[in-house]
């Protein structure tokens, strides 16, 4: 019978307690390595979460956007706008889209109600805007197909616009004036909110407040009655699911290119693909930092290996005594391997603890979203124990190969 694993752990542990200072020095490299792995993982996790939140707030991963292509050389001719007719054509070509919204936004102007006024951005939109933006009305209704078909003078207010003009009273059915046009309020949007990341804005803690300062009329009404000189700068679609968004993006891109006679006046992007791109870049970022952490773990491992080798040389006689009273090669091997693993495991636990401290500090001082997960703890623990196993093998093997007679003769 050999000694058990628990026994080896116990022997290893008492050795560590006996040589506290040495053990502490030994594990610093591991602590730092594990700590940096924790921090990097938490930051990457946080970044992914922020991105997803932001994408979600902007209409989710099924969204496809058509916008002016800023990298196109407009001196070659062409204008990055659509007419209402072109928009209708395109809309007819993509019946598979779950939602379709083309919009045109005016420069902020005063919206008037009786004596009071509020400067807001007026947008001409399609009824599907609330689907594309994943938004809803708080009261009344949103614009509908009849409003678009009949060029109705209907308006839906953002929550800030409504409260600034009407206070606590209901604006439904009231008439407001924009650029000389009387418009009837049919609904009020729900407020949008997302906490500001990266050090509060000078204006508001709400990163989406600008959305609450908007008002919406049918696109047809805007272009025919309010601002006939305006053109449509782009449009949004929504696919049935994120996978279909990829296909929809390609199809819309082809349609728009055809319509504009091969000129790439517009860029067509899907949120899904944007997200993948962001993920790829955070992957590269995290890979670099994980590599740095791994290097520091390797250095820590080599330090531990050398200290263990020195320690075994110092303890040759002890090993001889253990061999004399019946320790087998495996017992000696396990004793020293367990000792190394215990040291690195301890380093891992300390690294996890200090990692959390650093994560909290980073989160609160830099106002960066960090997200720790239970999986990270397992990764860190496994990595530190793994380092102990790998770098403990050579010293343990050397100890187990000692010849009993020579070991006993050692001074």
């Amino acid at each position: 019978m050999a000694i058990s694993l628990a026994e080896s752990l116990q022997v290893g542990l008492s050795d560590i307690l006996l040589r506290k200072v040495r053990s502490v020095v030994t594990i610093i490299g591991i602590v730092l390595g594990v700590m940096s792995i924790m921090v990097v993982l938490a930051i990457v996790n946080g970044m992914n979460k922020s991105t997803l939140d932001w994408m979600g707030e902007r209409g989710g991963l099924t969204k496809v956007e058509v916008r002016r292509n800023w990298s196109y050389d407009f001196s070659r001719g062409g204008e990055a706008t659509f007419t209402l007719r072109e928009i209708r054509q395109i809309r007819a070509l993509v019946p598979e889209a779950a939602a379709f919204n083309a919009q045109s936004q005016l420069q902020p102007q005063e919206l008037q109600y009786g004596e009071s006024g509020f400067v807001c951005s007026l947008l001409g939109v399609y009824p599907d805007m609330i689907k594309v933006e994943d938004w809803a009305v708080a009261s009344g209704r949103f614009l509908n197909e009849q409003d678009v078909e009949n060029f109705n003078n209907a308006i839906v207010l953002g929550s800030t616009v409504a409260s600034e003009l009407f206070g606590q009273r209901s604006p439904l059915g009231e008439s407001v004036t924009f650029a000389g046009q009387r418009l009837v309020v049919v609904g009020v949007m729900e407020p949008k909110f997302m906490a500001n990341q990266g050090g509060g804005s000078a204006f508001s803690d709400n990163a989406l407040e600008y959305l609450n300062q908007r008002a919406f009329v049918p696109l047809s009404t805007l272009l025919s009655k309010i601002a006939p000189q305006e053109r449509i700068g782009g449009f949004d679609l929504q696919a049935k699911d994120p996978e279909a968004a990829r296909e929809l993006r390609r199809k819309v891109n082809d349609i728009v290119l055809n319509l504009k006679r091969g000129k790439a006046l517009f860029s067509v992007e899907s949120a899904q693909e944007q997200l993948e791109q962001i993920r790829r870049s955070t992957m590269i970022f995290s890979a670099v930092f994980v590599l740095i952490a791994v290097i520091s773990l390797l250095v820590g491992g080599i330090v531990i290996m050398n200290i263990m080798l020195a320690s075994i040389k110092e303890r040759t006689r002890e090993i001889g005594v253990r061999l004399a009273v019946g320790a087998r090669r495996r017992d000696i091997f396990l004793q020293f391997l367990m000792q190394t693993v215990l040291i690195t495991g301890l380093g891992g636990i300390l690294g996890i603890g200090s990692g959390f401290a650093v994560i909290n500090a980073v989160g609160s001082y830099l106002q960066l979203q960090v997200l720790a997960s239970a999986r990270m703890i397992w990764v860190a623990l496994l990595v530190s124990v793994g380092v102990g196993l790998i770098f403990g093998i050579l010293p343990a093997l050397r100890a187990s190969k000692l010849d009993p007679v020579r070991a006993l003769r050692e001074e």
Partner: protein, 228 residues
């Protein structure tokens, strides 16, 4: 009485650089169960080598060795470790206690490698510590004891597993005559209880206590067996 040790034509060669040194040159030894034997010889005679082989710390280059009815000369390292653990109790000149363990843990060491549970270990170790007269000291570290006391701990460790033979290498070499006498008395006592005791020594006084003295010279057994 049965033979506890029986060797035939033991040979041990060492390579010292390019030179081959023959430390044992055909040693035949027979020791009966319950004997008290002293092994004497000048330094370089091969008595340490013989003791290492009899103690299963080393293997002969050639020849046969049977210990307690088992042929051990052909065993591998791990099998020899088990034999040392079960059948042999060592007492060294320099005590060889582990300095960072207390007496109890030192004495428990062979039991641990024998795979005994903690409870039984402690009970057995306390018993033998008591039998060598140190029952009130079991918490102490070796450095807190005198040389004689340390050697008594070493004896306790050697007998805790009820070995077939007790093998002592100059056990009084580092002790004053008073403490040395006490240690020899313990060996005599163990011998009277039926243990087989083998002591390697320079000291005629030590050898005088033995039933029989085996002289070794130039790697061979001399013919000066006192008790024949």
């Amino acid at each position: 009485m049965a033979d506890i040790i029986w060797t035939k034509d033991l040979i041990k060669d060492y390579e010292l650089g390019k030179v081959k040194v023959r430390a044992l040159n055909g040693v035949d030894v027979t020791i009966e169960e319950g004997e008290f034997v002293a092994v004497m010889g000048p330094s370089g005679s091969g008595k340490s080598t013989l003791m290492h082989i009899l103690g299963c710390l080393d293997r002969p280059s050639a020849g046969e060795y049977h210990l307690d009815g088992v042929r051990v000369s052909e065993m591998d390292r791990n099998q020899l470790a088990v034999v040392r653990n079960r059948k042999i109790g060592f007492v060294f000149q320099s005590f060889n206690l582990l300095p960072h363990l207390n007496l109890l843990k030192n004495v428990e060491l062979p039991l641990m490698y024998a795979g005994l549970g903690q409870k039984n270990r402690t009970r057995k170790a306390r018993e033998v510590i008591e039998s060598v007269g140190l029952s009130d000291r079991w918490r102490h570290k070796p450095a807190e004891l005198s040389g004689g006391q340390r050697q008594r701990v070493a004896i306790a460790r050697a007998i805790v597993n009820n070995p077939a033979i007790l093998l002592a290498d100059e056990p009084t070499g580092n002790l004053d005559s008073q403490a040395g006498g006490d240690i020899l008395e313990i060996f005599s006592h163990l011998h009277r209880q039926g243990n087989t005791v083998i002591i390697v020594t320079h000291d005629q006084a030590v050898a005088g206590r033995a039933d029989r003295v085996i002289h070794i010279m130039d790697g061979r057994i001399g013919n000066g067996d006192l008790a024949g």
